[in-house]
Amino acid sequence: MHHVILGAGPAGVTAAETLRGLDPDARITLVSGEPEPPYSRMAIPYLLEGGIGESGTYLRQQPGHYDRLGIEVMHARAGGLDAASKRLFLNGDALPYDKLLISTGASPVTPPIEGANLPRVHTCWTLADARRIMELADRSAPVVLVGAGFIGSIVLEALYERGCDLTVVEIAPRMVARMMDDVAGGMLKRWCEAKGLRVLTNTRVERIAKSANGSGEELRVSLSDGGTIPAQLVVMAAGVRPNVGFLVGSGVVVEAGIRVDDHLRTTAPDVYAAGDCAQAVDLSTGMHDVLAIQPTAVEHGRIAALNMGGRRTRHRGSLNMNVLDTMGLISSSFGLWQGVQGGASAKIVDEGGWRYLRLEIDGDRLVGAQAVGLTEHVGMLRGLIQTGLRLGAWRDKLLSAPERAAEAYVALAQGMTGHGWTGPRTKTPV
């Protein structure tokens, strides 16, 4: 049995390890599209901040980890797939497989802006990008960051920590528009401004041009509000899309991402998909959607591998969730944070204290949550949503006092049992 895993992010690495656990004799090939050992994109901001070196971004820290598990790591790019003859084309060579996992992740989108391909305009996605940004983002260098979504906001923190003179340009009316509501987004923006950043929401970058005077090492960024700002570096964080280009003509159906069933099988036989490239079930909606977050990638990788290895395992859905640290102001969101029609909502807002909590309840279940400035036991919000635990009498208590969510969780899920091994048996979400 030869398992080929295309893509060495968290989904691919988790899948390779899971497959090895199931079958000590299978041949497992893990194909990475980049030259470095498998690493975590999520750790790149901490590399930019200087908190870690490149090896600190590696997904696995033990030297010889893949050799020890008998996982063959290759560095190559996929050019095509012939699912009928079970061959994957890597840099022109055909690699036959018995089972294939596509975990190719996503790549940043370059918005259609004039000058977006100039030198000194970079995305912040790979270790190679990080190296270039570290060269250009000197202390007090004027830097323009395009995009203040979730990824943009993580990059924002890193550029701020590097001491850049930072302007953030966001086309949407608020920061993190797809993660949190206008109260939270507004709080984040004011926090950034209080830290000395310029945050321009509702603003488009019209054009990036080389500066007319000077050595050509400076850019000028023209904005929809008529303003022009200088930049030594422009960082693009305008969204990502799945890496599925090589699947044209392969028979694998691609919609928003690769279409998979509830066992993470694609439309082609013995081909599975996981992570940022897969359009799998969202636990909150029951609908197929791309959830490009780390915990989902790991869940997908594990479940796809169990199915590839012959352990039929249903993926019942992943929960959308994000956590963000914006220069010390920590925010998180879970599930249907926007709420549902006919649902009930509870909020506490403390603008001066930089705290916000919003819960969304459907019937007597928590279905979504957002928090700003609250970190203690924050995972319990996931616990309540993931279990679909009936709130019972706690529903009304939470509607009048959402800050009692942790108490509600302990009372409902845990309070009646002991802990340690007396607590509920726990497994990964299989």
């Binding site: 988790t14 975590s40 999520m42 750790a43 901490y46 908190g51 870690i52 600190g56 971004t57 590696y58 997904l59 696995r60 820290q61 636990l283 780390q294 915990p295 790991v298 594990r302 019942r316 969730m321 994000n322 956590v323 640290d325 010390g328 920590i330 998180s332 019937g363 279940r365 970190t375 203690e376 036991h377 924050v378 995972g379 919000l381 996931r382 616990g383 993931q386 279990t387 679909g388 635990l389 942790a406 108490e407 969780y409 302990v410 009372a411 899920a413 845990q414 049992t417 002991g418 802990h419 340690g420 091994w421 007396t422 607590g423 509920p424 048996r425 726990t426 497994k427 990964t428 979400p429």
Partner: protein, 165 residues
């Protein structure tokens, strides 16, 4: 033999000495806010519930960590390696028990690691609400406790299917 914290909320008086002992042992300060064990106070019912990490067999925090900073030691305990933790906090939202938390003063996450086999909370507890015991020796008690305290069984656990679909 594996050992675990056994918590009997019925014996807890809410004195919170476990929180003090934990924060002192692990952070060098008497500060319940930095404790890895927390006593929940249901004062209307006069009930106290000490609450900390259950050292899940396949831990959500560990799986979610993007840089391999949470590993399992020989005793099955999930340990955070501060030198590897980048402070991304994904584990804090991934753990559905809310028992791994961000410590702003270090920029890293903290969780119960059973004090390397000598948990300070159990030592400090004056009523034996928190004890540190061999897992197998008390297997029967475990089942009795479970049966007495929940009528809903394992389906009430965090891995229970959400009923709404």
């Amino acid at each position: 033999m594996l050992k675990a914290l056994v918590i009997d909320p019925g014996k807890c008086t809410g004195c919170k000495q476990c929180e003090m002992a934990c924060s002192y042992e692990n952070e060098g300060v008497f500060n319940p806010a930095k404790s890895r064990i927390r006593v929940f106070d249901f004062h209307h019912e006069a009930r106290f519930v000490p609450y900390t990490c259950t050292q899940c067999a396949e831990a959500w925090c560990q799986q979610a960590c993007p840089v391999n900073a949470i590993t399992t030691d020989a005793m099955g305990v999930k340990v955070v390696h501060e030198n590897l933790c980048v402070g991304c906090k994904v584990c804090t939202i991934a753990c559905p028990f809310g028992t791994i938390n961000y410590n702003a003063s270090t920029g890293k996450v903290i969780k119960c690691d059973l004090c390397q086999g000598n948990p300070a909370c159990a030592d400090a507890c004056p009523t034996a609400a928190i004890t540190y015991q061999d897992v197998e020796q008390t297997g029967y008690d475990k089942m009795k406790l479970w049966a007495a305290r929940t009528g809903t069984g394992e389906s009430a656990g965090p891995n229970a299917p959400a009923a709404r679909h």
